[in-house]
């Protein structure tokens, strides 16, 4: 066997209170697509930050093409041939595409040459991109192209991709995979981080599975079932949520002709949105991030007021009511951003329970807070939703993402909503907690609530929703029954491939040979 490109031995990194990586070892071969698999908090990000020179390991060694490899900073790592596409893009909204690319390079050519190079590489790999556009105006998929092209211009030997498909439509994922396969054929190794098992089975040659910072197994994904990999990842058998009833009642939530300007400079305008949700029904709304999800939630929660009759609940116009007036009528929401939107980070769980529960749970009396019953309410959320925390006095910030998510969803579910709108209910939550949250939503629907689930996780939407629609550039597709929808149909509802093309590296070589 030839020397691996990068060999990792016994890598350990501890932060106060948590060991992010504990004695992790694996090899990445030449021209290999290697998957790094694990749940949120398994230590995948810390591991790649060490390879990229952003974090120094406490102990352990890395060997790059047979030589010791200790990158002190990203510059050294890039000089060796490591390139990275970040999960939360490391892009600058107010700068141009070409400027963003230049910032990720050691010795960028003059801007005009660089723009030409960007055009050429982007066309070769089927990732069309205008170097003069401002990044803040680009879609999530286009932003990712900027990151990928920034990496490709440096001729990397190892390309690290951290959760690259979470912002793409299925069609865009296919094209990305073709690009990655092309790169592998050209001799580039790829370290691919994900928790989406089917993707890994399709793309990767080899997989390393991390759990709680430890390497718990390796496998060849094509020969291993998704279920086996999932159980290695979780360390437990998985519960699949079940739905008890299928019957739905009268229309509860009626949205018609909803148009809304965004409040943030790079937001999306909602354009003429229509849908209805009946009692006992779950409507799933998919779509790539940044296509109007946040705006739709704020129009339904009452944070943004809209034209009269755009939002009606049980025939009554609520378009002009603020969040508290809507809560009185049983319309509750759980936004995507847990810290700072769904919960106040530095306030205790009791105080956070009060913030949305005061009205429906009668927690105030003539303007005075009834702390005893508020505390009981917070306790009941913690018990019912298995929130792991020392007590109700703990600040929201101190909870892990999954636990806080269970708390904010539980807080709304326990207020017996008639309409519940949730955005990304299981984002960053481990598989077991995600299953519990989905089960709670299904149970709530069975009790007769109308539920809108906005999510970018298509598997989740297919699992729990009765009907499905997708947001694309602020427009909502036709709503269709979820059962029987194919991935291709869903992808088209999400807006297809957004102008991407399949990589044509081969074509160019052919042309070059002819010329």
């Amino acid at each position: 066997m030839t020397t691996p490109l990068l060999s990792i031995k016994g890598l350990t990194k501890a932060y106060p209170g948590v060991v992010a990586n504990d004695d992790v070892s694996f090899d990445i071969g030449q021209s290999e697509v290697h998957a790094l698999l694990g749940e949120n908090g398994a230590g995948k990000s810390t591991l790649v930050k060490m390879i990229y020179g952003l974090v120094k390991p406490d102990s352990g060694t890395m060997t790059w093409q047979g030589k010791s490899f200790t990158p002190a900073d990203p510059k050294t790592a890039r000089a060796s041939g490591v390139a990275m596409v970040f999960q939360h893009f490391s892009l600058f909204d107010a700068l141009k595409v070409s400027e963003n690319v230049a910032l990720g390079m050691e010795n960028p050519p003059p801007m005009r040459d660089l723009a030409r190079k960007i055009r050429r590489v982007s066309e070769t790999y089927g990732l069309p991109l205008d170097p003069n556009r401002i990044v803040g105006d680009l879609s999530a998929g286009e932003r990712q192209r900027v990151e990928i092209i920034r990496c490709l211009l440096q001729d990397p030997k190892l390309l690290i991709m951290d959760e690259p498909t979470s912002v793409l439509t299925p069609q865009e994922v296919d094209i990305l995979f073709k690009t990655l396969n092309k790169l592998r054929d050209e001799g580039t190794s790829i370290l691919y981080i994900s928790h989406k098992l089917e993707e890994i089975r399709k793309l990767c040659d080899h997989a390393t599975i991390l759990r709680l910072g430890k390497n718990v197994g390796e496998c060849v994904p094509a020969e291993t079932s998704a279920r086996d990999m999932a159980e290695l990842m979780v360390g437990d058998t998985l519960q699949t949520p079940t739905r008890s009833t299928e019957k739905t009642g009268d229309v509860v939530l009626d949205v018609s002709g909803l148009t809304l300007e965004p409040t943030s400079p790079f937001g999306t305008t909602l354009k003429n949105i229509h849908f209805t949700v009946s009692a006992g029904e779950i409507l799933g709304i998919g779509g790539v991030a940044g296509n109007g999800q946040d705006e739709l939630l704020s129009a339904l929660s009452g944070e943004s007021l809209t034209w009269p009759d755009a939002v009606k609940v049980k025939g009554q116009d609520v378009a002009n009511l603020g969040p508290n007036a809507r809560r009185e009528r049983g319309i509750l929401c759980a936004p995507e951003e847990r810290l700072g939107h769904a919960a106040a980070p530095d306030m205790s769980l009791t105080e956070n329970a009060l913030l949305t529960g005061a009205i429906r749970e009668n927690l105030t009396n003539n303007g005075f807070v009834n702390w005893a019953s508020t505390n009981d309410f917070a306790k009941s959320i913690i018990e019912r939703f298995d929130v792991r925390t020392p007590g109700t006095h703990v600040a929201a910030r101190a909870l892990s993402g999954g636990n806080l998510q269970k708390f904010v969803i539980g807080r709304e579910v326990l207020q017996r909503p008639e309409v519940l709108v949730v955005n990304q209910p299981t984002w960053g939550v481990d598989a077991a907690a995600a299953a519990a949250i989905r089960q709670a939503l299904l149970d709530l629907a069975a009790e007769g609530a109308a539920i809108v689930v906005i999510s970018q996780d298509l598997d989740e939407l297919m699992e729990i929703s009765d009907r499905f629609g997708a947001l694309n550039e602020g427009r909502l597709s036709d709503i269709r029954p979820a059962a029987g929808l194919t991935v291709d149909e869903i992808g088209l509802m999400m807006g297809g491939a957004h102008g991407m093309e399949v990589a044509h590296v081969g074509d160019e070589e052919k042309e070059g040979a002819e010329a």
């Binding site: 810390t46 952003l54 107010a94 700068l95 230049a102 910032l103």
Partner: protein, 306 residues
Amino acid sequence: MDLSAINPVLLIASLMVAATPLLLAAIGELIVERSGVLNLGVEGMMIIGAIAGFAISVETTSPMLGLLAAMGAGAVLSLLFAFLTQFALANQVASGLALTLFGLGLSALMGQSYVGVKPPAMAKLDLPILSDIPVLGPIFFSHDPVLYFGIALTAAVWWFLKKSRAGLILRAVGESHDAAHALGYNVIRVRILAIMFGGACAGLGGAYISLIRVPQWTEGMTAGIGWIALALVVFASWKPWRVLLGAYLFGGINVLQLNLQAAGIAIPVEYLAMSPYLITILVLVIMSADKSGAPASLGRTFHASQ
């Protein structure tokens, strides 16, 4: 009232002088804010520059050494701000306000023995032939070197931000310090250098008032120019040439209203005195109607947590 007493050639020449301290301070603050730092201590750094430049040029009888000392003093004072905000992670607004109050107090203390002293005069740049052109000569070619330096600095800052790689890194740090850090740029170092540049420019602007424009030392003689500079940067949408335009507009109306006062025009003095502020802000507000916004990380504290 005798408007004919106002000489337009002298008026234009003196508006350029009146605008220069504001221009210098604002260009410095523009770089600081483009790196994502809000330093409200401009007034304090200016007045420290004013007294340091005054004292050194009186003691050494060299105005040039005085100007250099003023830049050094402004930069040293700004280092205090840099330490507080970049290492101690103190709040930028509070630290900047403290810097202004500290500068005003310290300059009054340092300047006690310099009240009423006359500083050595700065030689005007003598350009034979050019200075002798009628009208254009007195307006454009018979000023002190610092005035030309201010215009050259504006051009240099524009070029730096627009064309140079270092300028691109500076803007990137101001846009998103987290992303810049992830790409391996040293956010703290970039910001400290920017803060020191801002301090040096403010110091030079202050010394220009005490050595060239007035020239004498009185307590609190910068009289709010530092605050105008801060507002100017915002209203100029963080663009160097607009800062120059705003500074000249402010200087021009200021000189004009002083001339009008002297000519005894029948408008109450208070209205004339407030006019430069009003008109400058009005014009720049109209110009900043395009959506070029503030640097996204402006005023946010950066801490490399991992």
